[in-house]
Amino acid sequence: MLAAYAQYWRLNLLTLFEYRANSIMWFAFALVYHAVALGALYVTMHQFPSMNGWTFREMLLLYALWMTGHELHNALFFQVVGVPELVREGGFDRFLVRPLDTLFQVLIVPQQLLPDGLLLALVTLGIAMPFSGLRITPLLLFFVALVVAGGALIDLGISLAIATISFWVVRVDTLRWAVMSLEQDFTRYPISIYARGVRVVLAFILPFAFMNYFPATFLLSKQETGLGLNPVVGLLTPAIGVAWSAISYAFWRIGLRHYQGTGS
């Protein structure tokens, strides 16, 4: 299994060099995408320095924590996002007849995926941490690494759950898109700006707030004003990530037993 995984990364990196110009353009795109998002935030907060008590510097940390967790998910687990398409087109059935774990096989489909987004995210995080006034200590780095890993697992839990739903409901694009939109746009700001229902969803149902908001609140020693929780809940991110992806994996296993294919 390990050998197969090593081979998968070798293929990925080979395609990187094969399509060098294209890879560079996509890297430039990722750079511009995040620069535009942060640029807009900077200009806005230049005019309006406080968002429910958060400054631009603190919100940069919010952004960087989410970005790194999300990019770690994309680097390791992105193929899970493609499962609904595989199911629809019938390609998924191939995995079921091979003698390896189905999820593992999904994860090693070569896709020209490169960890460039992750690299960019790590640089952003490296800037955001001192910039937001955090004291860089080994303990902090250890905790941040756990938050990032937990964040990637939260993300995995959600993409795995959506992939599993596609075993029953072939068209899950609406659902996937709604969740993606909630994740990408709504995680940029402290959850206290939303209505209570949205805060509860972001904290407990699709726990994106644990990818960045709760850990950042704890790290920056801020008051948690969204739900009035003790900031210490920010320490729970890795546990939530493990629990969330474990539940999704169990759901995935149930889904596999019911899988019937679309007949295509």
């Binding site: 430039a28 995408y33 807009a40 320095p49 406080s50 968002m51 709604a178 700006i193």
Partner: protein, 266 residues
């Protein structure tokens, strides 16, 4: 141009409209996506205005109006009528298209316009949903008319910008990433995400001098009244100037490109 010459393009537009209707699902998604984003912008600006001093000429209701109308405009402006160029180049069908007795740029324009029409219709349900979430100011009828005119020019400038970007595919074949880059940058620099008046100092003044401002910023600032009736003439003239410049550029690119067809396998 006689009517008979326009007819085929009218048919192209109708065909594009019908084709898009069959992708109802994507249509539904784009409306839903906008409604979520309208909710987000309401939360965002309400929180920001609650705790900070408001900018002089842009109170909260004007800001929410600006951002909501910008999103509604994006429903129409984000349609890239010319991405067909790229597809046709990749598949090689551009060669036969060039032999047909039609003007390809006008074909692309009418195809894009047909798709735009559908998304234009979608503004209505989106607007109704939006009104449940936010209050949108409505300016005086004359301002509304000038806004419509300015929006029309913006549409054409945006079309030509897309056209130029897609025509680059004649030289490099793969331009999608480049195009997305330009799209994101232009969203920020055109005032779609935040009003250009919020950009500080020199940067702000520079942005008004760039062509991107002709796409979102000019119509929107007319709508919310920051561009006053006395300045309407100048604002529209600047937009028309950019329209003329882009027409010339697009014409030049197209002439150079059609001489230089390399078909990629196909």
């Amino acid at each position: 141009m006689p009517i008979a010459a326009i007819l085929p393009y009218w048919e192209f537009a109708k065909k594009a409209f019908a084709r898009e209707v069959t992708y109802r699902f994507e249509v539904f998604t784009s409306v839903g996506s906008l409604v979520l984003r309208i909710y987000l912008l309401r939360c965002l600006w309400t929180a920001l205005y609650a705790q900070n001093a408001a900018p002089l000429n842009l109170p909260l209701h004007a800001m929410i109006t600006y951002a909501t109308v910008a999103l509604l405009m994006s429903l129409v402006l984000e349609i890239d009528g010319t991405r067909l160029i790229r597809e046709k180049l990749r598949e090689g069908t551009i060669a036969t298209d060039l032999m047909k007795p039609i003007s390809l740029p006008f074909y692309f324009f009418s195809d894009g316009a047909g798709r735009t029409l559908l998304y234009g219709v979608l503004v209505v349900p989106t607007l109704l949903c939006a009104l449940l979430l936010v209050h949108i100011d409505v300016p005086a009828p004359r301002a509304l008319g000038v806004f419509a005119l300015s929006f029309l020019i913006a549409y054409c400038v945006n079309f030509l910008l897309n056209f130029c970007m897609n025509a680059i595919a004649f030289w490099t074949l793969e331009t999608f990433a480049l195009q997305l880059i330009v799209r994101w940058v232009s969203d920020l620099l055109s005032g779609q995400i935040i009003p250009l008046t919020l950009f500080p100092g020199v940067v702000g003044r520079l942005l008004f001098a760039l062509p991107f401002a002709a796409i979102y910023s000019t119509p929107l600032l007319i709508y919310v009244g920051i561009v006053s009736p006395r300045q309407w003439g100048t604002a529209l003239a600047v937009q028309l100037l950019w329209l003329a410049a882009f027409s010339l550029l697009a014409g030049a690119i197209w002439r150079a490109a059609s001489r230089r067809i390399v078909v990629q396998g196909g």
